[in-house]
């Protein structure tokens, strides 16, 4: 399995192909559509991360030294970004996740969507992913 760093490089290259925002957004929408669904039983209040506008559910499981994340959102653009984040972090070890620097976010131009002041719940989602990593690390 590739490292977090390698996956980020890959994603950055994937996005570099696109000339304009529209192609990039269409790609994100496709990723959102393809995101493997979260098990319905995990779409609970407890797993809900509330942004002002779109809702995000996040579930984490720890097996064989790795964390497997599944997630969902009611907005498709948010799902697309979730798909990218899961691609990067899911299946990695807690310590790698906890220490990961997610620098692809700036590089592929998702910064706006992932600014701490945005209302889409994604920043809280990343925070929650790291909190799981720290918890499983102990």
């Amino acid at each position: 399995m590739s490292t977090i760093k390698e996956i980020q490089t890959e994603i950055t290259e994937d996005f570099a192909i696109f000339d304009d925002w529209m192609q990039k957004y269409e790609y994100l929408i496709d990723l959102g559509k393809e995101l493997s669904p979260i098990d319905e039983q995990y779409k609970t209040e407890d797993n809900l991360i509330k942004g002002c506008q779109s809702r995000v559910w996040l579930h984490a499981e720890y097996t064989k030294g790795k964390i497997i994340y599944t997630a969902d959102s009611d907005a498709i653009m948010t799902r697309g970004i979730i798909a990218v984040l899961i691609n990067v972090l899911s299946g990695q070890s807690p310590s790698e996740i906890a220490n990961a620097k997610l620098d692809f976010i700036n590089k592929i131009g998702l910064k706006e969507q992932l600014s701490p002041t945005r209302a889409n719940g994604l920043v809280s989602m990343i925070k929650q992913m790291k909190i799981y990593a720290l918890a499983f690390n102990n």
Binding site: Y25, I29, Q53, S54, D74, A75, I76, M77, Q113
Partner: protein, 404 residues
Amino acid sequence: MLDINKIRAQFPILNRKVNGKDLVYFDNGATTQKPQSVIDAEATYYANENSNVHRGVHFLSGLATDKFEETRNTVQAFIGAKHNHEIIFTKGTTDSINLVANGFRTLLNKGDEIIISEMEHHSNIVPWQMCCEISGATLKVIPLLDNGSLDMHEFDNLLSKNTKLVSVSHISNALGTVNDIETIIAKAHNFNAKVMIDGAQAASHVALDMQKLDADFYCFSAHKLFGPTGVGVLYGKEEILNVLPPYQGGGEMIKEVSFAKTTYACLPHKFEAGTPNISGVIAFKQAIDFITDLEIAEITKYEEELLKYATAEVLKIEGLKIYGTAAHKSGIISFNIEGLHPYDIGVIVDKMGVAIRTGHHCTQPIMDRFNIPGTARISLSVYNTKQEIDVCVKAIKKAKLMLS
């Protein structure tokens, strides 16, 4: 007839690009843009006149005070208040409603009732919930009809001798419904209930005349009226403001302070504790002058025309549903498209330079009523054009294509 190009030329932000495209600003319900005269007034104040008000004997303090009070007189004329001390400056509509709701705590008893409606902005819900919790009064809610207007039949049923206050919006920020507040006020007065009108969405769109309307309280925010942020107006009838206890304690609002006994100042100072938003209040005058120069009746007419056009155009989009279809509406179109989340629509049209609002618009009970997570909302102002509506509709269509 209004010369829209001349109007647009007064708003510098309308020249800017967003994401490489001309800005199309349809988020006027959240806040309006500012004409150059308002921007200049703030800058001029700070560069030439800045001083604290109401306290100093020196020249600048007198100058600032005179200008500050000039805005009060301008607001008085704008809404047809009887006295200038019936105009209280607050920091916004939310502040104005809290001021009244806080004061009413002490005027209410268990068994008393407050009536609001299902279409209210959170700012006209939560303060009354807090007020009821502390005073023991009960909150009653006028329900919505399917077209987004108030169920006036139910309103009649809710009114009783227990009703002490009715607080409803003049125009709904999420649905655009223009409420028949004249009737609401008259009916409430039949039961000796006071009426507060949340005019946040009305003051820049329709003419106001407190004498004709006979509302006991009326409030709005300067920032939704081409004015600065951090300034609000609370109008109240003198005799009611006199019995309402003060809200905040501090400088300006007192007559005498001692540890034994503090007495409160007269209107309007009783409700204006502390240093106010001086620059904002002074610049606000320019915003009102902007409106009165255009004539508010002309604004209403033009916006009705825009609304009619926009409604017809968006309805051509398949699967699009408008929430709020009352007969009497202001320039607000709330909609959803089948199968799409409003957030996604908002994010994508933004990339085409179009600023619309998405979400619950601080009106969760409306969203619950229609069982939707939110809507996308186009809200119009006098500087908007049919061409902008065309751009917006095109952008929505593109978003639909991309998202489907």
